[in-house]
Structures are given as structure tokens and as C-alpha cells.
């Protein structure tokens, strides 16, 4: 089977396009039998044991928003689909065009993690490289600091050998625990290199070899640079 081609009015609802799209991006709507309650064929990449004809499933739009509960009319595993199932549901016309998928996760699993996560203890180390504790950060946040770069300036949190790969999310969690809305918090600036690299690697010097000496180009006359 080659690249599927959409042929407009010649479409006979064979469902091959739904089956072959690796991105699960295609759903097929069929209004031929019922204009008010069309059928929708949805690609589904989970075990056949989880879904069967007659089940009620929750359908979602492309953003994951719940559209409603609908009944499964048919489940089949065509040869063209790479282990995906094609699930046909019947849905009211007002939501049918927006259906993009079937919810597989139980609702509680998608709830706000805050309920299940304990708060960070004051003595716990948030930035392991620079050994910054939650207490230090909390005190600064309580003093009114909302810019993570400001926290970094005072504590070095995020400036260690790891390049700030761990602590920024923990710092954001402490802000949340302190009741600061995320829109009030300025994220810290991330700087390369992200991992430590020997200076010699940038100069073409291999360990153990003599360094390369640069040849100055011209005499320094009126240096006009500032800085230093």
C-alpha cells in the first residue's frame, strides 16, 4: 500500500487511510446512514483486551478535552494497521467532527499531582551542585523575590556543574507551595554549555600535547574596548 490519496467524493469509507497513518491523525466520519448520528472511526493503539463492541468510551478532542461518552459499534484490526485497532463509534453530529481519540487513562491519574506530592522539607537540598536548601529559597521567596535569576544571584542555585538540569523544577515547586501563581515567577536564564568541557577542547589541544600559540596580528594602538 503506497501513500494514501484523498479522492474526495470518490471516498467509499474503506478506512485504509485511518489504518495507515502512523501519527494516528486521521478519523473517518460516515454520515451515509444517519446525518444526526454519524459513525466515527478512530485509530487506537492499545490492547484489544481493553475495548470491545458495546463498551461506552469517553471521547476527546485534539487538545484532550472531554467531548462526551459514546458507544463502541465495532472494533477491528485490519492488515494495513501496524498493530493499531480501528474503533468505530456512533456519536452526535455536534461532537463527531471534533473527536480525535479515546481516553484510556482513569480520570484520577490525570488529576493535579499536588494532591499526591508531599511538600519539600526545609532541610532538603534543592540544588545539589551548590548545596542550596529549600529553607534558603523559601526565605528569599517570602522576602518578595519572584525572579528565579535573582534567587540564582543570591544562592547560586542552578549555577553548578550540572548546568541547572535538576533544580529549576524544584524551585518552581517551592514557588507553588508558597502560593505564588506561576505567571508571577520569572524563569531562570539557561546558559550553555550544559555540561562541562575542558577549555583545551575548544582550542584544538588534545590532553598531553603542547598548546597552540596564537600569532598576534598587529600592534595594539588605541584600544577602545571598555570592560575588563
Amino acid at each position: 500500500m503506497g501513500v494514501p490519496e484523498f479522492v474526495g467524493h470518490e471516498c467509499d469509507g474503506c478506512e485504509k487511510c485511518v489504518a495507515i497513518c502512523p501519527g494516528l491523525a486521521i478519523t473517518l466520519l460516515d454520515y451515509r446512514k444517519d446525518q444526526a448520528r454519524p459513525t466515527v472511526v478512530i485509530p487506537y493503539e492499545f490492547s484489544a483486551k481493553r475495548i470491545k463492541k458495546g463498551d461506552t468510551v469517553t471521547v476527546l478532542d485534539s487538545e484532550g478535552t472531554v467531548l462526551g461518552n459514546v458507544e463502541v459499534a465495532r472494533v477491528r484490526a485490519p492488515r494495513e494497521a501496524d498493530r493499531a485497532l480501528l474503533v468505530r463509534v456512533t456519536a452526535p453530529a455536534d461532537i463527531a467532527t471534533r473527536i480525535a481519540g479515546i481516553r484510556v487513562q482513569e480520570p484520577w491519574q490525570a488529576e493535579d499531582a499536588e494532591r499526591f506530592v508531599r511538600s519539600i522539607g526545609d532541610d532538603e537540598i534543592v540544588c545539589r551542585c551548590e548545596r542550596v536548601t529549600a529553607r534558603e529559597l523559601r526565605e528569599l521567596i517570602r522576602s518578595g523575590i519572584r525572579d528565579m535569576n535573582h534567587l540564582k544571584a543570591v544562592t547560586r542555585c542552578g549555577m553548578g556543574a550540572c548546568g541547572g538540569k535538576t533544580c529549576p523544577n524544584l524551585v518552581k515547586r517551592i514557588f507553588r507551595e508558597e502560593g505564588i501563581p506561576p505567571e508571577q515567577v520569572a524563569d531562570l536564564t539557561r546558559r550553555p554549555l550544559f555540561m562541562e568541557v575542558p577549555l583545551g577542547a575548544f582550542a584544538g589541544v588534545v590532553a598531553g600535547e603542547a598548546p597552540i600559540h596564537d600569532v598576534p596580528r598587529r600592534h595594539a594602538t588605541a584600544a577602545h574596548e571598555g570592560g575588563m
Partner: protein
């Protein structure tokens, strides 16, 4: 516009604005600071590498930085904040006759202003910095009273002190215009509102020029960018800032030092200058400076680079700041064009501005202001910055 009238409004909570706010508040001036970024020192201050020296060639900069050195070196004792002040001195190295000649020529000027700076012969310099490349080394200047501190920690400290003194801050708010009538300032307009004041200090660094233009003033400040980096911290193995003024392809001088916690902080001056306000790091400068630093100190090949960044230098045509009351607009104070030296000039400039705004400027202040006056001819380049 808020109903409260502020004695002074500072635009920019950076290298200049923060210490100015501290000294104004200490003198009882009710001050408001407005900054477009989310916190203190988030413009170019945090991009400074932290070098502080009084050994310039301009008398005004020498005097301002001598005051800065006093403030930085005594800050922890006076106010308790750690700012990582370290008095390691500065060394300008000479490997060739032309550099030796120009450095020695400048030395005479600097010594005339009473600066503690002298010439180190080759062996003396090797004794001071044992790991320096000895091949071709002739000597260098050494000014032991210069030093370094953490720009980030000192801006946090100045901010903390300013808040303690009652200075108000508006972060994440961009000043868009100076409001003025009949040749006098009446307030500042921002993207979120406005503030009434008869005194406005433009300390907006690389972003100062459009604001000056909104007041009908044009200050010749053009930002260009330099890139810097820092390594992992290691045990101390040398004290001074090392400056190498030999130009090479793509760059003029470069310099580096070991800061108080032990990391090497380094910076290079691109040639030609990279004009604009883009602050995104590039991948070009690190190979350039790595080669040169290892040339100057071969053992650096093994030290690990941790982070790089890029910062803006608000340049004036003659490389010197623009400072003082505007003659054209009453109530407007220029604190613009620090030319990449805002961090080391900041406390000295801030203290002077506090005296100026209160009408308490000294005879020495007036000499500084005469040299840095906004109405000067921007012709000659400085001998060596």
C-alpha cells in the same frame, strides 16, 4: 499616573541604578526605580565579569572607580552581605616591544594621579603568576589595589539595602517616555502607567538612548556585545586579573581572572564590534578565547568550561560615560554610556549622583562632571581603557 510624587525616579535597576538608589535613599531622597526586567541586575549587570579597577587613564574614571573600590571593599563589613570582594590586582602583560612601550607610557599618566601601579620585570611577573607562559614574556603593569567582586551578589546586596532604606521598585515595567513641560521633567511614562517626579535619572544602560530621545535629548550611546564565560571552581593558583592587549584576527584584547570561589571568569573583545542588543550566546568566541588563554597559561587546557553568556556594552564615541544634569531639560540626569564599565563605575557614579541631586556635589565631583559632561565634543579615543 499614580498620585504619589517621587523625589527621584531612576530608570534601570542595574550597575548604576541600584547603588544610586541606595545612596539617594541614605540621603533621605524618596526614590522609585523602574526596570523592564523581572529583578535587579538583569540587564547587563549580570553579564559583567566582576573586575573592578581604578587604573584607567581618564581622571574622572579613576576618581569614580576609587570611590567604587572603597564601597565594594567595605560593603560586607558595613552591611553584612557577601559580595565576594577579592583584592587580587590587575596585570597587563607585555610579550612584545609595542605593548611594553604603550603600557609604560600609560603608567606614567596613571602614577601621576596617585594610583598604586608599577612595572613588573619578567622575573617579578613570573613570581606573581608562576603558571604564565614565559616564552617571550617581557613584563607587565601591576596594580595590587584593584580587584573583583560578584556582580550578581553585589546587585542583590544593593537591592536588599535599597529596599531596607525604603526605595520602591517596579520590576517588569518598561519606561517608555520622559514626560516634560516647559523645559522641565514632570514624570515618567511606562508601559503600565506613569510616575510623577521632577528628577529622573536615566541609568537604562544599553536601552538608555530611546528614553533620552523621548525627552528630546540625543545621547550618543550605541550598544555592542561581548561574550564571556566561567569555568569550574578550582583551588586558587593566581591572584590578579590578567589582561592581554595583543589584537588577533576577530578580537582585540581578552582578560581573565580567578574569582573568589575559584572559577576562572573570562571575556574577549570582538573586532569588529558586534553592534545591537541581541544577547544570545554564539559558538564563535569560545574557540577564539580558549586558544589565546591556553597560549598565555598552558595549564588551562585542562580546566572545564561551565557556562558562557553575552552582555551589552553601551558605548559612547569616546569610550567615556555621559554624566550629569542636562542643560537642555531641567530635572533630567544623564547616567548613560558606561561603555562596559558600569559595574566598576556604578557605586562611584551612584554616590556622586546622590550628592548631585541634593546639590551637595564637591569641587572634585564638579571636575568629574566637567570631564563627562553631556555637551562635550565626542572626538578623541582614550589612550587605553
Amino acid at each position: 499616573m499614580s498620585a504619589q510624587v517621587h523625589d527621584a525616579v531612576i530608570i534601570g535597576a542595574g550597575s548604576v541604578g541600584l547603588p544610586a538608589a541606595v545612596f539617594l535613599a541614605e540621603a533621605g531622597v524618596k526614590t522609585l526605580v523602574v526596570d523592564q526586567f523581572a529583578g535587579p541586575g538583569q540587564g547587563s549587570n549580570k553579564a559583567a565579569i566582576g573586575g573592578i579597577r581604578a587604573t584607567h587613564s581618564s581622571p574622572a574614571k579613576i576618581r569614580l572607580c576609587l570611590e567604587s573600590l572603597r564601597i565594594f571593599s567595605t560593603w560586607k563589613e558595613a552591611h553584612g552581605d557577601e559580595i565576594e570582594w577579592f583584592q587580587g590586582g590587575y596585570v597587563f602583560v607585555a610579550y612584545r616591544e609595542p605593548e611594553e612601550r604603550s603600557l609604560k607610557k600609560l603608567l606614567k599618566v596613571q602614577q601621576r594621579y596617585g594610583l598604586n601601579i608599577g612595572w613588573l620585570e619578567r622575573e617579578e611577573l613570573i613570581a606573581l603568576v608562576p603558571d604564565i607562559n614565559r616564552e617571550g614574556l617581557r613584563g607587565g603593569t601591576y596594580s595590587p589595589e584593584d580587584g573583583s567582586a560578584s556582580p550578581m551578589m553585589s546587585s542583590a546586596a544593593f537591592y536588599r539595602r535599597a529596599v531596607e532604606l525604603g526605595v520602591q521598585f517596579r520590576f517588569g515595567e518598561r519606561a517608555t517616555a520622559i514626560i516634560h513641560r516647559k523645559n522641565g521633567v514632570v514624570g515618567v511614562r511606562t508601559d503600565k502607567g506613569g510616575y510623577a517626579t521632577e528628577t529622573v535619572i536615566n541609568a537604562a544602560g544599553a536601552w538608555a538612548r530611546p528614553l533620552a530621545q523621548s525627552a528630546g535629548l540625543d545621547t550618543p550611546v550605541v550598544p555592542d556585545s561581548h561574550e564571556a564565560g566561567i569555568t569550574e571552581p578550582v583551588a586558587r593558583f593566581f591572584n590578579p586579573m590578567l589582561v592581554d592587549i595583543r589584537p588577533t584576527e576577530g578580537a582585540r584584547n581578552y582578560y581573565f581572572y580567578q574569582h573568589k570561589p575559584g572559577g576562572l571568569v573570562f571575556c574577549i573583545t570582538p573586532d569588529p564590534p558586534v553592534v545591537g542588543t541581541d544577547r544570545r550566546e554564539t559558538s564563535e568566541y569560545l574557540p577564539m578565547i580558549a586558544k589565546r588563554m591556553i597560549g598565555l597559561m598552558p595549564k588551562l587546557a585542562n580546566i572545564k568550561v561551565r557556562r558562557t553568556w553575552r552582555g551589552l556594552y553601551p558605548m559612547t564615541p569616546d569610550g567615556a560615560p555621559i554624566l550629569g544634569w542636562s542643560k537642555a531639560l531641567e530635572g533630567y540626569v544623564h547616567a548613560e554610556g558606561m561603555c562596559g564599565q558600569g559595574y566598576m563605575l556604578g557605586p562611584g557614579v551612584g554616590a556622586l549622583l546622590a550628592r548631585l541631586v541634593r546639590g551637595a556635589d564637591s569641587a572634585e565631583d564638579r571636575q568629574i562632571l566637567e570631564e563627562l559632561r553631556p555637551t562635550r565634543e565626542f572626538g578623541a579615543e582614550e589612550t587605553l581603557k
